[in-house]
Symmetry: C2
Subunit: 238 residues, 2 copies
DNA sequence: ATAAAAACATGATTTATATCATTAAATTAT
DNA sequence: ATAATTTAATGATATAAATCATGTTTTTAT
């Protein structure tokens, strides 16, 4: 995925600019943007830093995290191809979260001034960007409900479903992302041991299997049924 | 606050339409919008219902709630003057939350088609609406971190600060909204008894006082310090 | 290929928080 | 104003989930 030459927005499969801006503006963004490769584990921006502009994920996987008293972390959101990181920033605006690449990822940066100009000149683009944030807000609402009201086991199942929703399944029904137990714990706001226990329980019931840290979803419908009915996996007859 | 005659967007203090649309479009929205009074406790829209358009809070206070297995509820967000409820909805889109008036509130409704037209014709309006959702997303991120990572006591203090941030304090330093202990619990995702206990603890330390269900913030800085330092109120010497 | 280091799994124990039970205080209605 | 009803406070108890401790895989590096 190493890129030697910046791709045009028009050729990026999921890019909102390429899909919703006029040809002239696509050219202007192509000239003004900055496309970079971030290696797995690299920070794209840091909590506390000034917001200079917007990041658009061309290709890759990213976690948005929030630091909790030094060591602990909460994963607040996930992003992949076509998603947006951060936001347009007023002067003095700082990031409240950090963005970290989960795998090698290609990401475009558009600075605040250029973004504002693009938005004013391309209302359909702005409309779509508005819809994007509204949709992320909806997902956040789901997570708030999940973290606030669900018992640990359901939080973990819900998190697995969320991973499938964002990253999808590959041809072998693997969750298409290299996510550790610790990271699942940081999404669900539980501890890692509970994730291990729950994964074991789901494996015993053959709803999932694992191959190393890879998680294979054998029975997606069953997982969905578990959250829909708030059922306890261990309550099921074995 | 009873309204006999619909106000023009241009005369609504905080309305994004009045502030960022052209005069012609303000007139069109005035003609096409529907301004209604919702009494305290009334539902503005229901979880599961089709999304026909956007609601703008002219004046009032609203909670956005999500139902948890029948009886329990999670407050996902709060809204007041100038805020936006719901979102532009594609056909078949349904609400994932309900919106309930916390006090008598005047709210405008703009349907999906009109909203789309307004957005395309008024890019600065769309830009501001986009910024609004991005800003709400940021607040949701804070809440996710709070619910996921903080002990009960800090969740409650953080919730009090959030109420102050959204609704402000009146001249007597009362939180300017009629919020019950149960509702604070539904924001912080804790139970009502814990809210009572924490409020008692904060009163003993004279950081807050109460007058019935009204909460008076005597020492806002101290509250902020508590969350900033993750300090336990009961650890303080009495 | 082998060693070293991470990451994961699992049982025992502790702890934070929810639930339950009761009393007291505010609201609301008569 | 008084009674009725709802909301809030507080103590006792139960329980879910975190922490701790240890062993086992899996991954990474040499």
């Amino acid at each position: 995925m190493v890129i030697n030459q910046q791709k045009s927005c028009a050729n990026c499969k999921h890019c909102l600019v390429g899909k919703f801006c006029s040809p002239e503006w696509i050219s202007k963004v192509d000239a003004g943007k900055n496309q970079l490769l971030y290696r797995k584990g690299q920070y794209i921006f840091y909590e506390g830093a000034l917001v200079f502009g917007l990041h658009l994920v061309t290709e890759g996987k990213v976690k948005i995290i929030s630091n909790v008293s030094g060591s602990k972390e909460q994963i607040v959101r996930l992003a992949t191809d076509g998603h947006v990181l951060g936001r347009w920033g007023d002067k003095e605006d700082i990031y409240e979260n950090s963005a970290v690449s989960l795998e090698d990822s290609v990401i475009c940066f558009i600075n605040n001034d250029l973004l504002h100009d693009v938005c004013l000149a391309n209302p359909e683009f702005t409309f779509q960007l508005m819809k994007y944030y509204a949709s992320e807000l909806r997902k956040s609402g789901k997570q708030i409900k999940c973290l606030g009201q669900m018992p640990v086991k359901l939080k973990i199942v819900e998190t697995l479903l969320h991973l499938v929703e964002i990253f999808g399944l590959d041809s072998k029904r693997n969750i298409a992302a290299a996510i550790s137990r610790q990271e699942i714990a940081e999404m669900a706001a539980v501890n890692m041991e509970q994730v291990s226990r729950e994964i074991t329980a789901l494996k015993k019931r053959r709803i999932i299997s694992t191959n190393g840290k890879q998680i294979i979803i054998n029975d997606l419908e069953k997982l969905q049924e578990i959250v829909a009915t708030q059922m306890d996996i261990l309550d099921l007859d074995s």
